[in-house]
Amino acid sequence: MHRYRFVLTRPLQFLPVLFGISVITFILVRLIPGDPARVILGTRATPTAIANIRAQYGLDEPLIAQYFYFLRNLAQGQMGRSILYKIDVLRLIGTRVEPTLVLVLASVVLSVLIAVPMAALAARNQGKAADQAVRIVSTLGIGFPPFWLGLMLIIVLSVQLSLFPVSGYGNTLADKLAHIALPSLTIALSLSAVLTRSLRVSMIAMLSSDIATAARARGMPERIVFWRHVFPNSLVPTINLLAVNIGWLIGGTVVVESVFAIPGMGQLLVRAIFSRDYMVVQGVAMAFACATVLVNFLADLATVAADPRIKL
């Protein structure tokens, strides 16, 4: 099982990146003009609270020392308190993870369901009308702003056809899925445009690969060559593509949560920016960055599991 040795070593390679993420999020808050204690506590803080925060964050000491205070607090699971919600930032983020996670997963599933048939159609008809149509549609799709597309879907699918709820999240599982349908379709339509373009290229390359030629030489019909050999092999690059586009996906989530009033991490970030709740901004930015690193790790894992020849 030495192929999977990287499961143990790769996290060590992530350490410099995680260190960098912590430095950047630390610097972000320190760059805000004004007394850092007031930045952390808000303008209406009491003198005792300010004295406490000064001791906890080492605000009277040099910046390097402050960074180590920051790391120590982080190791103890303390990322500060939200000025707006009056609770610990980590716990606040914890309550917002589920809607965002559901939205991201639903978007990925939907976009793969859209992108794979589109790319297959284009690749199998390379240069013909179907291929041109897919290329034009996906080129157009990349330019669709998610916040606007979401509103257009609301007009057509919620208002005209009354198929889905307009906004919010819901309580039961079925209710949540109904609420997440339009937002995830919004993200999936833009994400699938990106996926289709790349997937089409990798399918076309795979169509002229030795695997496909060998299958054709054995007299296998073109349809079976495609679905048995070309399609499964082009899924491996798709996993990586999704990992590469995780930033795009999270960005889309942030915007779409605001459009549909979904109480997730993205909406939390936007509201925190407006209310100058800097500890929350810092916490959400760090959480999203760590999630990105984690997704890349999982993508490596999936790639190795899917293709025995790949060693990391």
């Binding site: 410099p16 330019g143 998610p146």
Partner: protein, 283 residues
Amino acid sequence: MSVLARPAFTPGWSKAFGTNGALAAGSAILALFVLAALFAPLIAPYDPIAQDAAARLAAPSLLHPFGTDNFGRDILSRVIWGTRIDLQMAFFGVVFPFLIGTVVGTVAGFFGGVVDALLMRLIDIILAFPFLVLMLSIIAILGPGLSSFYIAMALVGWVSYARLVRAQILVLKTQDYAVAATSLGFGRLRIMFRHLLPNAIAGSVVFVMSDAVLVLLNGAAISYLGLGVQPPVAEWGVMVAEGQPFVTTAWWVTLFPGLSIVALAFGFSLLGDGLGQRLGVAE
């Protein structure tokens, strides 16, 4: 990098565009928007911020082809004036990262060693953050506005260009003409920017176009969220946000600014594809 596929001689129109439909269509779309931006005061039928209480939320008609918003402002005029802001956003949002990234990538690739290793780690860290999240965090510190958007773009956007250029420079610096330039005693700056960079830049030039799409979408999204261009300035993302409360009754307020974003983004994408074909760079 193949330039062999290019025909030896083609006159006039086809000399510029050849059979490159994407390049021609993309240039045409972009030219249309540039003209609209330049001649906005002449083309727009109304003042983009003039309110008309008598014509609130009027549906599209001959008088107001795109209808009016809740202040009675003419949507068509606002879309035309918005072209100025959104084109400007795409332009500056790409130019600063392009310049910074190109210089950083050239220096990192040319010198290698510690400089290169440090810069590459910095790029890894910046790329660990989702683009929009880091942009929003920086804007949170600087405060909302267009200048904050440009600063955040410059701080975050250069990494893609740096990676592209660095990869090219790494290959080019071992080629004969680079070695020849070194043995002729040319200075490092001259070799980097006169000999290597012009040959390394094609990929970045093509990437500029797909980057312009992302910058346009992000700029409009940030303005939609209320953190970029501020009302009453006519900007397409702001217009969509302003139309959202009326989306069920007055669809035209949000439809047309959004369509403009789609059209401009399509123009940039086509131009990128066309340039890619023309310069023999595949993304």
